[in-house]
Amino acid sequence: MEILNQILLGTQIVFQPTNLLFCFLGVLMGTLVGVLPGLGPTAAIALLLPATFHTSPVAAIIMLAGIYYGAMYGGSTTSILVNIPGEAASVVTCLDGYQMALQGRAGPALGIAAFGSFIAGTISVLGLMLIAPPLAKFALSFGPPEYFSLMLVGIVILIYLASGSILKALMMAVFGLLVGTIGQDSISGTLRLTFGIRELYDGVGLIPAIMGLFGVSEVIVNVEKVIKSKVITAKAKNLLPSLKDWRDSFWAIIRGSVTGFFIGILPGPSSTISSFTSYAMEKKLSKHPEKFGTGMIAGVAGPESANNAATGGSLIPLLTLGIPANAVTALLLGAFMIHGVQPGPMLIPKHPDLFWGIIVSMYLGNVMLLALNLPLIGLWVQVLRVPYPILFPFILLFCLVGVFSLNFSQVEVALMIGFGVLGYLGRKFNFELAPLVLALVIGPMMENYLRLSLIISRGSAWIFIKRPISAILISITIALLFSSMIPGIGRRRRKLQERIERQK
């Protein structure tokens, strides 16, 4: 009964005209960036964050979350019509989606992607609603050692799931921790590596860093070689899937949704991993695995549902523990903090309007997305016609203006360009960027929890082992790090990654 009251509270919040408008703007922008190759949800959220400074925290988070799950919807359009994934989570949709388009079945492919995403979005919102409150209650018993161990295991899972070398991913994480130490030390007040630059007193800005690492560097990599593509426009009709299409894809949607949701809770690029996992699962369970890659509708329905469900799952660690699981939720954490709200176990008791408002907005956002995606496919196809040589200067311009308008600081723009260079080189040298971002965000928190734990225990590192929850988390960390060195597991991990790389 209590849960119904909470949903009612959320509904009252969301149906306020401003919040409705921001929800709509969020999913619209999300679909747009999902459709456009070379601009992902991370860069889009970073770009639009300053625009939310003058709004209420609820409206801001509703819009930013809308961009996140909206991008998953939009990403399928480019995969199916142009064979270019709008964002990484839609890579596998290209395999069967584009084949369907070539056979004149772009309509049902787009349709099932939209319906699948809607069903998955709904399931993931339900999961979030049921799992988040008890988990938040449990997390109330956490102290500094538990939080430190939890963050450590979070970073290590991210590294373990990284697509390249574990050593390189670890190096990026440690580098992120070091960059995170720049600024004023929150315990002693000492300034560290600020060189008298005022903009660095509060630490290296998250938005310039993310815009540089994901926005600028992505464009620069694309500028090396122009993207040439042919858009299929004439055949994107008859969007409603037939009864047979539904029969072939219904269970794929359900399986994709459940898998995606649970993978979403894990740190890392969960949307991408969940779509690959769902595709592999559908192929394995199918009576005709050999036909995958030739236009099987289950190969579109499963992954598209999975990547949408993962967005709901990835909000769980953020909302209940205050720990971001990937770059997008790291930005959402930044957005919460800018608005003076600390996500974590106290979020639900302290700000029930915010929590339930977000939950209900996600459900409403999914309805809006269904309405946006099916009738407006024609419009999105037109957007795709903008050639990249015209599009990329505007992406860069939006990055520049977005960062400059944060604090009207040239230093922060210079930082963004610097991180752009770093991100570009990172991509060229096969260094994962996600561990760097996550470490940069949670690094200062980890440092505080580490130092507080050591002060509590009077310098004894045993405190991390003596407390049971912390001990379990540390054991998982050690097991993950060592398992990759065991020949059998290490080889299997490498093989899986090679397969993912090939499919990219």
Partner: protein, 155 residues
């Protein structure tokens, strides 16, 4: 196609330098002890860890034979020119924004990138640059009321 590129040694040297620098710097802000960790505690130990990992990466790069299979750094002969020009355009935008103002700087930025990165006709370039600078000015300054510099021409 150029010579195969070593993907590990250069970044390892970069990270080694960063790690050592942080560890040395940490000594100037008090590392503290395990009982009372100071502000330099994490930079010191994390710097040392990064340096050790960088050394491991250098050693691994000598032991590994993967190098031969890697493609060259730039996919095309002229890629580097486009990459460098785009970065320079970003730096120039940052430097010119305050003195020239948003409208004019944006016009110049769009003209340069559209005309010289993947060369378009002058007609198309000017159309995109003029429309782009006017629309983004309306969007950012008039609609979103962002406090962007208007510069010497008040545009």
């Amino acid at each position: 196609m150029g010579k195969p590129f070593n993907y590990d040694r250069l970044p390892a040297i970069f990270f080694l330098t960063v790690g050592i620098s942080f560890s040395l710097y940490a000594r100037s802000v008090e590392i503290g002890s395990w009982h009372h960790p100071g502000p330099g505690f994490l930079p010191f130990w994390a710097g040392l860890t990064l340096s050790a990992m960088a050394v491991a990466l250098i050693l691994r790069s000598y032991a590994s034979k993967i190098l031969e299979a890697r493609p060259p750094f730039f996919p095309q002969k002229d890629s580097w020119k486009r990459v460098l020009a785009t970065f320079l355009a970003l730096i120039a935008y940052n430097l010119l924004l305050s003195p020239l103002g948003f409208g004019l700087t944006t016009f110049l930025f769009l003209t340069f990138l559209v005309k010289f990165i993947f060369p378009q006709t002058w007609r198309r370039t000017l159309l995109v640059a003029i429309l782009g600078s006017v629309i983004t000015r309306l969007l950012f300054i008039n609609f979103l009321e962002t406090q962007l510099p208007k510069g010497i021409f008040a545009f």
